[in-house]
């Protein structure tokens, strides 16, 4: 049986893996790290992709394996589709960094999205997807910046 200490060490090591698209944030803050599980002899890291067909998955997998190795453990990575990733999984700290560093807002489940730069709630939709499939593009008429909004992955839901 894999010792609990080993699982904890892997969890600590892989939690700090930087996200390829937001290098200031790690996969734990973004809610991509779901769990670290072990059976008799091996350790597996379960990750939840933010969106199907995300092109960054390979890079995240490589980085997770390397981080675990650096802590002295070999792991396998499994991408799970359940539970589904939603923007709710992003931590509050991460939201502040997304707004400040990347002009990226998170669409709240209820209520209006506000501009991550000036707080205006008058955002105008411009396109359902932007440079990445997980963000839509909006225009803030108040501070006159284009901003991106992390979408929920359910189809038809903005």
């Amino acid at each position: 049986m894999v010792a609990k200490a080993a699982i904890d060490a892997v969890r600590a090591a892989v939690a700090s893996v930087a996200d390829p698209e937001y290098p200031d944030l790690n996969i734990q803050q973004l809610g991509i790290l779901e769990d670290v599980v072990a059976d008799r002899s091996s350790i597996r890291v379960d990750l939840v992709p933010t969106i199907m067909g995300c092109p960054a998955l390979d890079v995240i997998e490589q980085d997770v394996v390397a981080a675990a190795q650096a802590s002295g453990h070999d792991v396998t990575v499994r991408f799970c589709m359940s539970p589904p990733w939603t923007p709710d999984r992003i931590t509050d700290d991460a939201r502040k960094i997304l707004a400040r560093e990347y002009s990226v807002a998170i669409r709240p489940r209820n209520g209006v999205t506000s501009c991550p730069l000036c707080g205006s709630t008058a955002l105008q939709p411009r396109s359902d997807v932007g440079p990445t499939a997980c963000r839509s593009v909006e225009w803030c008429p108040n501070c006159r910046n284009p901003v991106e909004v992390v979408r929920s992955r359910e189809m038809g839901q903005k």
């Binding site: 390829p20 698209e21 092109p55 002009s103 411009r126 997807v129 932007g130 440079p131 225009w139």
Partner: protein, 306 residues
């Protein structure tokens, strides 16, 4: 809204690290310069996205196809954001910018005036060209005085860095591949080395307004030199040669020195008469008008929702 009594006062503001925002009373010459720069960047992202798109059906394997798809989306998305910021400067509408591009009246980066002949050319673009573009964008971002542009660059740089990592991985695969693959990669390096070097442009003029107004933060020749120092050893380590007979290494400081550059090819691309310019522009034009129905349908859907 902030305003400045004269250009001198404005330049002092910029020299102190001031960031210009759209609601400021922006001096006209600065507005024009920053507009031209962003328009060129937007055009280049757009043309780059179309190049990438050509390889979606031809990419070897599902994996590479997904990457090509994501990269096309990145580039077109970047163009989308940049055109929004450029249009907001009030000099041209977005439609005018697109029309000017498709009619060959405006410009885009030299590297998109060449034909991508093979999959290894595509790798050379991802590895050499994307790296050159990234280096120049990083230099702009570092000290960029126009707020909305700086904010877009922040995201563009991260995404381009991701492309470069991908290009590096593919290049190393070819470097360690069969003799045929290695040879193919070498031929592509031979084709793309000089255009990548020229992407940085000729030496900056002493009175370059882009530098004075902190739109750019580094001189072209400095960026070019740093690129050479980084990529010459990398290519040599991969077992490749550099297509430059006069390339030499300084015995004392170990720095690489490339031969004098013939700038005529760059000048040709700036007049849209490069080797593949006319095909590229007409292809972009066809793609634009072919997609007219999509834009109409999306506009109609938006109106129906409202």
């Amino acid at each position: 809204m902030r305003n400045w009594r004269n250009i001198g006062e404005f330049e002092d503001f910029l020299d102190d690290g001031g960031i210009v925002e759209p609601n400021d009373d922006i001096p006209d010459p600065y507005r024009k310069a920053v507009f031209r720069f962003i328009e060129m960047h937007a055009n280049s992202e757009y043309m780059g996205g179309l190049t990438e798109r050509d390889w979606i059906p031809k990419a070897p394997g599902l994996h590479r196809k997904m990457t090509a798809l994501a990269k096309s989306q990145d580039e077109i998305g970047h163009a989308h954001l940049l055109y929004m910021v450029a249009a907001d400067l009030g000099i041209k509408t977005r439609e005018e910018m697109v029309t000017d591009l498709l009619e060959g009246r405006t410009h885009f980066h030299n590297v998109f005036h060449y034909r991508v002949h093979s999959w290894t050319d595509q790798i050379a673009v991802a590895y050499l060209v994307d790296a050159a573009a990234l280096a120049s964008q990083q230099a702009v971002f570092k000290n960029c005085s126009y707020g909305p542009y700086k904010r877009i660059l922040r995201r563009v740089i991260v995404e381009e860095g991701f492309h470069m990592r991908n290009g590096e991985e593919m290049m190393l695969l070819m470097a360690r591949g069969t003799d045929v693959q290695h040879q193919m990669m070498q031929e592509s390096i031979n084709r793309w080395w000089l255009p990548s070097i020229q992407l940085f442009g000729p030496d900056s003029k002493p009175d370059d307004e882009l530098l004075r107004w902190h739109i750019k933060s580094e001189r072209n020749e400095d960026l070019r030199d740093r690129y050479v120092q980084k990529f010459v050893p990398q290519l040599l380590a991969g077992g490749f040669t550099i297509p430059d007979q006069d390339l030499r290494q300084d015995n004392e400081n170990g720095k690489w020195k490339i031969s004098d550059i013939d700038w005529q090819p760059l000048m040709d691309t700036m007049r849209n008469i490069g080797p593949d310019s006319s095909r590229r522009i007409s292809d972009a034009k066809r793609a634009w008008y072919d997609a007219e129905w999509v834009r109409t349908a999306l506009d109609d859907a938006t109106k129906a929702q409202a």
